[in-house]
């Protein structure tokens, strides 16, 4: 069976089971299916394209070694992205920095994002591609702890439980961090628009 047919006919858990059994075509199909997601996520966590590629390779090597240990808790994609996250943070040597919420006041975050401001956003006036460029630029200006959760939850589309599992958080902690990250990116976007602040 070709790798393409394998990918079309097998769900992720079955594919991973085949990888664990030594099926190289299944490994190729898994790579084809998730290399884009893993590389995108890795690139958001490390400084250079070269480091992102190293994380990509380390992730799939780890997946190959650990496929037999996958217990079906959460999606295979979430499992791979968790592996990628750990690989990236081992490189960054900042694991200890990503333990707890920073305690910023929710109201202050809201104000910075325009909470209480009655002025309409000029966002509607931007072309779609300009808007996408701005959002990508804002994402890259975030702290990694905010960027990674937005990438997982809002861009890669992992559900809440998968996102929490990938980040090693409880669901409530994930939701809190997600909301604050969204407020921070909204604040960056608002500042770029030059909206007036309401005192």
């Amino acid at each position: 069976m070709s790798e393409v047919a394998y990918a079309a006919d097998s769900d992720d858990a079955a594919l991973l089971a085949s990888v664990a059994a030594g099926d190289r075509r299944a490994l190729g199909a898994l790579v084809d299916r998730y290399q884009d997601s893993v590389l995108r996520f890795a690139r958001s966590l490390v400084r250079t394209d070269a480091e992102a590629e190293d994380v990509l390779q380390e992730t799939f090597l780890a997946a190959l070694r650990g496929a037999a240990g996958y217990r079906g808790e959460g999606s295979v994609r979430g499992w791979l992205l968790t592996i990628a996250r750990h690989a990236a943070y081992r490189r960054r040597r900042k694991e200890a920095a990503y333990e707890s919420e920073d305690g910023h006041d929710l109201e202050r975050l809201g104000e910075e994002a325009g909470f209480g401001d009655l002025h309409p956003s000029p966002l509607e006036a931007l072309a779609q591609e300009e808007a996408r460029h701005r959002v990508r630029a804002a994402l890259m200006r975030l702290d990694p702890i905010d960027r990674e959760i937005l990438l997982l939850r809002d861009i890669e589309g992992l559900d809440g439980a998968e996102t929490a599992a990938a980040l090693g958080l409880g669901l409530a902690a994930m939701k809190s961090r997600l909301h604050r990250a969204r407020l921070r990116v909204a604040a960056l976007l608002r500042n770029e628009e030059g909206e007036p602040h309401v005192g």
Binding site: G28, V31, F115, D117, S121, L123, V135, I155, R182
Partner: protein
């Protein structure tokens, strides 16, 4: 900023805290209705809520791109001991 605009038994700060849950469809029905009622009656929460929703929508619209470059794919396959990908036809 004063958050004391209480509508539907929620003040604006409470609505602010619920906005992500609202967008993600995670609110219990009674809470969802309270947030909706507050936003319908509170101009600033309606304004901010709309902008916040658009920011989240724009994040989601970034979608799954860019894709893995061909040379990166090739090196990954080599590292994993996989055969090179076949060249596309045409």
């Amino acid at each position: 900023m004063s958050a004391e605009n209480e509508v539907a038994e929620l003040d604006c700060v409470e609505v602010l805290a619920e906005l992500s849950a609202y967008l993600d469809g995670e609110l219990e029905p009674a809470r969802l209705e309270a947030v909706r009622l507050h936003v319908a009656c509170c101009e600033r929460c309606a304004s901010f809520g709309g902008r916040f929703a658009r920011a989240v929508a724009e994040l989601r619209a970034l979608g799954p791109c860019p894709t893995c470059p061909p040379d990166v794919k090739a090196r990954l396959r080599q590292r994993l001991g996989l055969d090179p990908e076949p060249e596309p036809l045409g």
